[in-house]
Assembly symmetry: C2
Homo-oligomer: 130 residues x 2
DNA sequence: AGTTGTACCATTAGTACACACGGTACATAT
DNA sequence: ATATGTACCGTGTGTACTAATGGTACAACT
């Protein structure tokens, strides 16, 4: 499989990686069970930082598109094809849209919404992760 | 009624103004129908900018704690006492907390939530005001 | 020894926003 | 003329976040 990263693109590098791997799964270029290059290996190939690749892998595993087996490496998840079409992001946006619309109807300023949002997100953060 | 503004406080000036006026209403120091100083007047007295006072007045009117009658000045709203105990901000935070908690349970990253939030808020902005 | 994913320390550049400020202008009224 | 609230143009400072980079270290396995 081929991965092309555009440094000059507005979309973040880790996002490009996530999208391209999902596409490859959807198109059947990589099958469930197939091994993926190691984080360090891929970072070296694409000439980017380990952390950036690790971030992409982390998100892909969160979505159950890939499976990391510790020291044994990373593999395509059995249900990858089904899972990579599930758009968690779209659901989040839909929910937020409803909530925000309700706020606006109540006369709440966008500025106020932003501040309250930042408050809630930061305050109740047990573990923030990346 | 006395208004004390603390320049060195962490809470914004307009917020201090809003709170103090609400407090004065709650304590009965000012009654419904009572006139408030004009924006320019109060700004001059408190040694702050017109816009800052105007912002406080705008929010107070949004909450129906005060009533502006154009060129005739600004007055305490008839239902001020009831309205100034209604905490719109607390409601917003409660809603957001529920929404965000649901996201986190679904495994959505705080970072992703922030991005989605910014997207939704900016995209569907009809009129943003302040 | 070498590799796996992962966790911790950190910095840099860029962006976005809140807050407060200044000036100017308007319609509406006394 | 003078005063009201309101609207527009803008500036500056501080904060907070993202994205990406670097280095070091760990446990678990081949």
């Amino acid at each position: 499989m081929q991965i092309t990263i555009d440094i000059d693109s507005a979309t973040p590098l880790f996002s490009q990686l996530v999208m391209q791997i999902k596409q490859a799964v959807e198109r059947g270029l990589i099958q469930p069970g197939d091994p993926l290059p190691s984080i360090r290996q891929l970072a070296n190939d694409l000439d980017m930082n380990n952390k950036t690749v690790a971030k992409a892998y982390r998100l892909l595993e969160r979505d159950s598109v890939i499976e990391t087996k510790g020291y044994r490496g990373t593999f395509i998840h059995p249900d990858a094809r089904a899972n990579c079409t599930v758009d968690l992001n779209a659901w989040v946006k839909k929910q937020l849209n409803e909530t925000i619309s309700a706020f606006r109807k109540a006369g709440v300023t966008d500025s106020e919404i932003r501040i309250a949002f930042a408050d809630v997100l930061n305050q109740s953060t047990g573990g923030s992760h990346d």
